[in-house]
């Protein structure tokens, strides 16, 4: 979707405010949002891609005004209600008003270490061959899907070179919308800054973007 989350190349957001010594969390509620979002992972019936789409679907003005963990909180609440884990009334009151949804094993304290270090690889095995080879020139398609996509606006309709082949990975554009993993070949594609932004770039600058095969066509 062409939302405000797709920020590459935008102007007007001001300087990068760097905190010299930054704590991992800035408040207890941030700790809670982080922990609850992580702990819900093992019993959630939605994908990480659906989660990301939920965050980018926060209305633009609210997205831009919310802090990072506020966005996590808004997105989590939306998912919990949408998927029937809690009702809007329960969310408003903070009290359970009916039976819980049937879920699998809840994450226990003694299992956190294993859970944190466990692998959730997005690569999938395949018997297909990649459609493009390293060094090949491609052009990104000019697509504007209203759903989740990983082809940023700033990189649409541009020429690039295949730099790396990452293997076959789950396709977020379908996986975010309950349409299955539909894995595809994934590439790191190199774009010159001149191609993306015009000629006023000092020195040699390139931008590399990880892109799925269906975003690309032979140049």
């Amino acid at each position: 979707m062409n939302g405000v989350h797709d920020m590459g190349g935008m102007h007007g957001f001001g300087p990068i405010g760097v905190e010299p010594v930054e704590p991992v969390f800035h408040a207890d509620w941030e700790r809670s949002v982080y922990a609850v979002s992580s702990a819900i992972g093992p019993i959630s019936d939605w994908t990480l891609d659906a989660d990301r789409h939920s965050t980018e679907s926060i209305p633009g003005p609210q997205y831009l005004n919310a802090s990072y963990y506020e966005k996590w909180f808004i997105s989590l609440c939306n998912m919990l209600v949408e998927r029937g884990y809690v009702s809007a009334q329960e969310l408003a009151s903070g009290t359970s008003l009916g039976p819980a949804k049937k879920v699998g094993d809840v994450l226990k304290a003694e299992d956190v270490a294993d859970y944190v270090s466990a692998s959730g690889r997005s690569s999938r095995s395949t018997d297909t061959k990649p459609g493009f080879e390293i060094g090949q020139e491609i052009r990104t398609r000019n697509i504007n899907p209203s759903g989740h996509t990983r082809l940023p606006r700033y990189a649409r309709g541009h020429k690039g070179i295949i730099e790396r082949i990452h293997g076959v990975h789950v396709f977020p554009d379908t996986n975010a919308h309950g349409q299955g993993e539909q894995p595809q070949w994934l590439y790191a594609v190199r774009f010159s800054a001149k191609e993306l932004w015009g000629s006023n770039q000092p020195g040699r600058t390139d931008v590399f973007i990880d892109l799925w095969e269906s975003y690309l066509e032979a140049a």
């Binding site: 001001g14 207890d28 509620w29 989590l76 020195g203």
Partner: protein, 214 residues
């Protein structure tokens, strides 16, 4: 409309207690429903506040500076190399290490959200997740570097990596001069979080000394 009128009178910081209350309310609801275990929440927080952080990545970089075999493995398969030091897991399943050289400087961003290699760097800092960095890193990386106090000469190629998939990138900064006889532990102290995102360089011995002096 009356709501925005009310807010007008609350002044600075009025949003914070509100969100704190709402989060508390959600947390207790989820505990009551049996979806989350409060003890697990505490362990999750402790893990990312004390165990998983940029010291992990610094150990990986320092090892690569001293051990050529390890360096090769890191370039070949960074998940396996970091995993051999015990750094595996969520948001690091497909780790790729990008080596800075005198000719090439690498820098990592996630323009669409906040993708970041958790097992080696921990949770990302606020600026990494914020609009100014996400918008400008791809279009004006040299300007961004200047804002971080790094003046990259025009002769050095700058490579920006936009993490749009599940591949997680970490930068291997160049080893500073004057560190020939240093131990792995001492070298790791030179490796800052920003040097592994690519918005900084590894500290020089002098900079480290200055940072230690109160």
């Amino acid at each position: 409309m009356s709501k925005s009128h009310d807010h007008h009178h609350h002044g600075e910081g009025s949003e914070l207690p509100d969100i704190a209350l709402r989060v508390k309310s959600l947390e207790s609801l989820l505990i009551e429903k049996g979806y989350v275990d409060p003890e697990a929440l505490d362990v999750l927080i402790e893990t990312y506040e004390t165990k998983v952080g940029p010291r992990n990545g610094a150990a990986v970089v320092a090892r690569s500076w001293l051990d050529e075999e390890f360096r090769k493995q890191l370039i070949e398969d960074a998940s396996a190399a970091a995993g051999s030091l015990g750094f595996t897991g969520r948001q690091g399943e497909h780790l790729v290490a990008l080596e800075n050289t005198p000719d090439t400087h690498n820098m990592v961003v996630c323009t669409l959200c906040s993708c970041y290699p958790w097992p080696v760097l921990g949770l990302p800092p606020v600026w990494y997740k914020s609009a100014p960095y996400r918008s400008r890193a791809v279009a004006d990386p040299r300007g961004v570097l200047e804002e971080f106090g790094v003046n990259m000469p025009d002769e050095t190629a700058v490579r920006v990596w936009d993490s749009t998939a599940e591949i997680r990138y970490m930068v291997i900064p160049m080893r500073p001069e004057g560190t020939q006889d240093w131990s792995e532990e001492d070298l790791a102290q030179l490796v800052t979080r920003d040097s592994m995102i690519g918005t900084g360089l590894a500290l020089t011995p002098d900079q480290l000394e200055a940072a230690k002096t109160p």
